[in-house]
């Protein structure tokens, strides 16, 4: 078959979450008030979850259809409107056409599966986690809307529609980070995320512009080969010009800036750790598994353009590598369990970019997939820990939990081995694949490979540290006191914790105290994700790489190759992970009671600790530069330009032309005089400029 079977169902993938959004937006709150808290919440949460899983089901149908397709391309064009099989025009304006259409190919359907599959699990988890929240309906409204926009982003058949999804997920992320807006810190974090993302969006918007300028269309591929990626593969730009490396450089760098914003690459990474202020399911879904990988997805989609320019590839690889090690060092020093995972996410995203930069987009996407499994798991596990400890997020007040919350502990253990890169768990295969290709990068390969290995060791170290502080060391909290005090936030104000997940689960079982295991709705997703973290890597082993083979039609061919053999790579990777774990073991096993390596005094005096602990001062620098200075500049500008310069200019003019000044001083209205004179100045300037330019053209 060359046609995609049941193409008319593609619209359902996006349609179902949208339906969920609309339903909850209009009736969610009503249902909860009418049906009562317990039943109503079950209906709302259940429906939201069911719709996402239904969307997953449809994605599976399309996926199997895609597998059955013959031919080289495995590409189909469908509509985003349910039950239509042909895309309808979205914008059709004098020569510019963009469809409201879906591009169904391995890349988009893979992302659909991840977004709806993991998204569904996280929705399920959230029904338990958010059970006591007063804004339950609002939460699921935003979550379903997020799923919708994310699916639009990955399914869009043109880059403009992708941009709509891109902005949409940004908006949802903003709304969800600030979900508990009663806490100013949360809303500030939301604001920071939005603003930093806007910086990236400039790059993206300019990139779209550049694509249009060079190719004359914004559609990725078309059936008759007229999309701009078709053209890029054929080496042709618009109007018969060649698609050169320079064009690829301009477009590639601009799009990369956009990708950096969304995927939190240095120096635009600053928003992601703060984004942990949102509820934990949000951190897992948006800020670990799906949205933050949008940058990688976008670069992969654009791979026919990116691979054309070696400079872009190198920039992507270097920024990715730097981000990976940079964020890993910060993760070593954090005490908030979610912050550690956040910096770990930034670091892992750096790996994915490194993969893309090596030209191995398939390996990058493989890491996107496995990372979605284990990082979602780790976040949800962390949420379960926080839940068990009544909203304690500071690892210094944890410890000894391995016996108290067994299921959470065992699943977290699976996530830990996966992220550390121990064979044969999921993270090992994808990380190894990326590092192998990175070693093959022209002339810098071995250096990059070495840094990558160090990062892997650091990763193993900070994750083991997290496990030690949380599960293995001695208990460092008073169990009887848990749940006895009011809101969790009050005990750790001094620690600058942003994300007090306090408001949600807290009131669920207000009278129970002590450590408690989470309800089944939270544990089931944990177990499933743990299973995926254990075996998920086998879809892409070097022996039978189903994964990369499947993705091949979506990705441009590049010169990427392994710089080390599989066995060497696997051995070195495992050794790096083992060193990290062993180091953590030897250091922390001795300090079982405190769980601290350094005393406070040692920390204060040690620059090597202080610098990463202060996030390498990047955040503070930005804050000083943009928030304090920027705000002042805007106010000053208003004062200076509108009140002083124009007034001043006017006064100067008035001083020179004594006649006017005398005339207008008598008009005691003051301001009108100034305005009129500024207008007059404008008139004189405009007329002089026109005459001057006319004189020049006439002189020719």
């Amino acid at each position: 078959m060359h046609e995609l079977p049941s193409a008319n169902l593609v619209g359902l993938i996006t349609g179902l979450p949208l339906l969920g959004f609309l339903f909850h937006a209009f009736f969610g709150k009503l249902i909860i008030t009418r049906m009562g808290n317990a039943v109503g919440k079950r209906v709302v949460g259940g429906l939201a979850t069911a719709l996402v899983f239904a969307s997953f089901g449809v994605s599976l149908i399309i996926f199997s259809g895609l597998l059955s397709m013959e031919g080289e391309h495995k590409r189909a064009f469908a509509s985003l409107i349910p039950f239509l099989s042909k895309p309808v025009a979205w914008i059709d304006i004098a020569g510019f056409k963009a469809n409201f259409g879906a591009l169904v190919d391995p890349l988009s359907i893979l992302m659909c599966l991840i977004v709806t599959g993991i998204g569904g699990l996280i929705h399920l988890y959230a029904t338990g986690y958010m059970a006591a929240d007063k804004d339950y309906a609002r939460f699921f409204t935003y979550m379903n809307l997020f799923i919708f926009f994310m699916l639009v982003l990955v399914l869009a058949d043109n880059i403009l529609l992708m941009f709509v999804g891109w902005e949409g997920v940004g908006l949802c992320s903003y709304l969800l980070i600030s979900f508990w807006y009663e806490d100013t810190e949360n809303s500030k974090a939301g604001n920071k995320a939005f603003i930093v993302n806007r910086v990236g969006d400039v790059g993206y918007a300019l990139g779209i512009m550049a694509i249009f300028a060079f190719f004359g269309t914004l559609t990725f591929y078309t059936a008759d080969g007229k999309g701009f990626l078709d053209a890029a593969i054929a080496g042709k730009a618009a109007n018969g010009a060649d698609f050169t490396a320079e064009i690829a450089l301009v477009i590639g760098l601009l799009l990369f800036v956009g990708a950096c914003g969304k995927s939190a690459q240095f120096p635009l990474h600053v928003w992601l750790p703060d984004a942990m202020a949102g509820p934990t399911p949000v951190s897992a879904l948006i800020h670990a598994a799906t949205m933050v990988t949008a940058g990688v997805v976008m670069l992969t989609r654009m791979s026919p353009i990116i691979v054309k320019s070696e400079t872009v590839l190198l920039v992507v690889a270097v920024v990715g590598l730097f981000t990976a090690i940079f964020a890993a060092t910060i993760a070593l020093t954090q005490n908030d369990i979610k912050k550690v995972l956040a910096y770990s996410t930034v670091s892992q995203l750096g790996y994915m970019f490194l993969g893309c930069g090596a030209g191995a987009f398939g390996a990058g996407m493989f890491h996107v997939t496995t990372h979605a499994f284990f990082k979602a798991l780790l976040f949800l596990g962390a949420g379960s820990v926080i839940h068990a400890l009544h909203h304690e997020q500071d690892m210094r007040r944890m410890g000894g939990l391995s016996k108290k919350i067994k299921v959470t502990y065992l699943t977290m253990l699976a996530g830990w081995v996966a992220i550390c890169g121990i064979p044969p768990f999921a993270g090992f295969w994808s990380k190894d694949e990326i590092l192998g290709y990175a070693a093959g990068i022209h002339s810098f390969g071995m250096l990059i490979y070495a840094v990558g290995l160090i990062t892997a060791a650091l990763t193993a170290f900070y994750m083991s540290r997290l496990m030690w502080k949380t599960f293995w060391s001695d208990q460092r909290f008073d169990e009887a006191a848990l749940g006895a005090h009011g809101h969790g936030g009050d005990s750790h104000d001094a620690l600058h914790d942003h994300g007090n997940d306090a408001h949600s689960v807290h009131d669920a079982q207000p009278h129970s105290s002590g450590v408690k295991e989470s309800p089944p709705s939270m544990l089931v997703p944990l177990v499933i994700l743990a299973a995926l973290s254990v075996v998920g890597g086998f879809i892409g082993t070097p022996f039978n790489n189903f994964f990369e083979h499947f993705l091949e039609p979506s990705i441009a061919r590049s010169e990427a190759h392994h710089g080390v053999s599989f066995l060497t790579g696997a051995a070195l990777g495992t050794i790096a992970a083992a060193i990290g774990i062993a180091l953590a073991y030897t250091l922390y096993a001795k300090r079982r009671a405190t769980g601290e390596l350094l005393t406070e005094a040692q920390k204060a005096g040690n620059l090597l600790y202080q610098a990463p602990a202060n996030l390498w001062y990047v955040d503070r620098f930005f804050y000083d530069l943009f928030v304090i200075r920027g705000g002042n500049i805007a106010v000053a500008l208003w004062r200076v330009v509108d009140q002083n310069i124009i007034d001043g200019l006017v006064n100067a003019v008035a001083g020179i032309t004594g006649l006017f000044s005398e005339l207008f001083r008598r008009l005691q209205t003051g301001y009108i005089r100034a305005y009129a004179l500024s207008m007059l100045t404008g008139v004189v300037l405009v007329v002089i400029a026109l005459l001057w330019s006319a004189m020049r053209t006439m002189g020719k």
Partner: protein
């Protein structure tokens, strides 16, 4: 002569305007002579009149009956008719807003609606002018009504100040426009725009050039282009909010449709004026947005935002300069025309919507003007807050709203016409704009209200309906721009 247009044909073409005029006189006299006490009758009749005019205008637009009229002094083409529809829609939304606002303020004096309808007719005349003199008359009809309306709240000294400022500066600008018309006439011996197009190329004298410069100034003042913008914040802030809302939409539509007409005719000498328009566009975009950031008053912020939007529209005017440079330029010119009209529709919906929210809230007996006043709005009035959120996103040009679609079309036109630099400035300043629109969203959604929740706004039919219609349009045409494009696309 059989077949040649009679006076009746001409009158039929301006039937919507005649309906507006009759309605305004019926209202003016009816209010003082017939129904002195029934205050609700004024807005209802005004709405009825506007709806009839709108119906006729839509019918005429769809049936494509446009033609030149009144000895070629009016050009009732698609541009005139579509802009008339935009103006009538603006008028309709503004009447609904005024209904609530005037009642709250005890300002229900009968002359408000006639003044507004007359100013709509003036604005529509500007959009239909094929003669610079008619354009000038239209501008004056629009302006005089606006001067009076700006000072409508006679007990409020700021309203008075706004009115007198607007009047004096407006008169100043009108003088420049008139002088510009005189100079253009001097150079080409005609004031008819269609004649002008064929004559300007051979009449490139300093007189013509200076005339064009003064036309830019006169129209730039109405459109609030920097450096002719300084009246805008003061007048927007001082005038009654219902007037500000109306003025923001109608004056912008009229000024830019007139500019589209004038510079379309002047395209043969585009080398003369393109540089100035580009410079003004950049100035307006950059400083309009920068100055908006520092504002703490919503009306003032929206005033600077209106300046910034004028800058984006100036990009379309600059693109029009390439209309005669080959097929790609011609396409860019068409896109600039259709794009600006789409943008003007979008602007009027989102701006009237935003002001409408302020008016709706002032129903609580407190005047909502400061950004501070909106603190924590989502807590006690979520629906209104979400409507405002949508208008802010749309004004900021964030998809999937109408503002994004409008901006995209102008952006696309600029790219097709080769105005790359302007397109880049537009993209960068749009990002800047997100900051101050976002500030409102931030204050509304993520800050705690400072005082206890005020009494919920009383339901008021006018403002609610107006905000609802604006919000619906902003979303609908943002997701399906094609619906509106069938209308704006007629303008080629």
């Amino acid at each position: 002569m059989p077949g040649s247009p009679t006076i009746w044909d001409d009158l039929t073409l301006i039937l919507p305007l005649i309906v507006l005029w009759i309605t305004s006189f019926v209202l003016l006299l009816g209010d003082v002579v017939v129904w002195k006490k029934n205050r609700d009758l004024n807005p209802i009749l005004a709405i009825v009149g506007t709806l009839i005019a709108l119906g006729i205008a839509v019918y005429q637009t769809i049936s494509l009956t446009g033609d030149k009229a009144f000895a070629r002094s009016l050009n009732m083409d698609a541009l005139a008719q579509v802009s008339m529809i935009a103006l009538l829609v603006t008028g309709l939304l503004a009447i609904l807003l005024a209904w609530t606002y005037l009642k709250n303020r005890g300002l229900e004096r009968g002359e408000y609606y006639p003044l507004m309808l007359l100013s709509v007719s003036g604005a529509a005349l500007m959009g239909a002018a094929n003669d610079l003199i008619v354009l000038f008359i239209g501008l004056e009809i629009l302006s005089f009504a606006l001067y009076v309306m700006a000072g409508f709240s006679r007990s409020d000294i700021r309203s008075e100040e706004a009115s007198i400022k607007y009047f004096l500066l407006g008169a100043f600008a009108s003088a420049f426009l008139l002088y510009g018309i005189a100079l253009v006439y001097g150079a080409t011996q005609t004031t008819q725009l269609s004649e002008l197009a064929s004559r300007v190329h051979s009449a490139q004298t300093p007189m013509l050039v200076a005339g064009i410069g003064l036309l830019i100034v006169g129209l730039g003042f109405k459109a609030a282009v920097i450096p002719f913008h300084q009246w805008t914040p003061d007048v927007y802030e001082g005038a009654p909010t219902s007037v500000t809302a109306y003025m923001a939409g109608a004056a912008k539509i009229a000024a830019f449709v007139a500019m589209l007409r004038v510079f379309d005719s002047l395209a043969p000498v585009s080398s003369v004026w393109l540089g100035a328009i580009q410079a003004l566009a950049v100035l307006t975009m950059v400083f309009g947005n920068l100055l908006a950031i520092a504002q703490t008053n919503v009306k003032r912020m929206l005033a600077y935002s209106s300046i910034a939007h004028a800058g984006y529209l100036m990009v379309a005017i600059a693109t029009l300069a390439h209309r005669l440079d080959g097929p790609r330029g011609a396409q860019a010119g068409e896109l600039a025309m259709t794009g600006s009209l789409f943008y003007l529709f979008a602007y009027t919906f989102m701006t009237l919507g935003a002001f409408g929210v302020l008016i709706y809230l002032s129903n609580r007996g407190k005047d909502y003007q400061q950004i501070e006043d909106l603190r924590g709005l989502v807590r006690h009035d979520p629906r209104t807050a979400y409507a405002m959120l949508f208008f802010m996103l749309s004004l900021g040009g964030i998809p999937p709203t109408m503002g994004f679609m409008g901006k995209w079309q102008i952006f696309y036109a600029a790219l097709s016409g080769g105005e790359i630099m302007l397109a880049i400035v537009m993209a960068l300043t749009s990002v800047m704009a997100a900051f101050y629109y976002l500030k409102i969203v931030y204050v509304m959604c993520f800050e705690e209200p400072r005082e206890a929740a005020p009494a919920p706004a009383q339901f008021s039919f006018g403002a609610s309906l107006s905000v609802l219609l604006s919000a619906a349009a902003t979303i609908l045409f943002g997701i399906m721009p094609g619906l509106l494009y069938t209308l704006t696309g007629l303008v080629r």
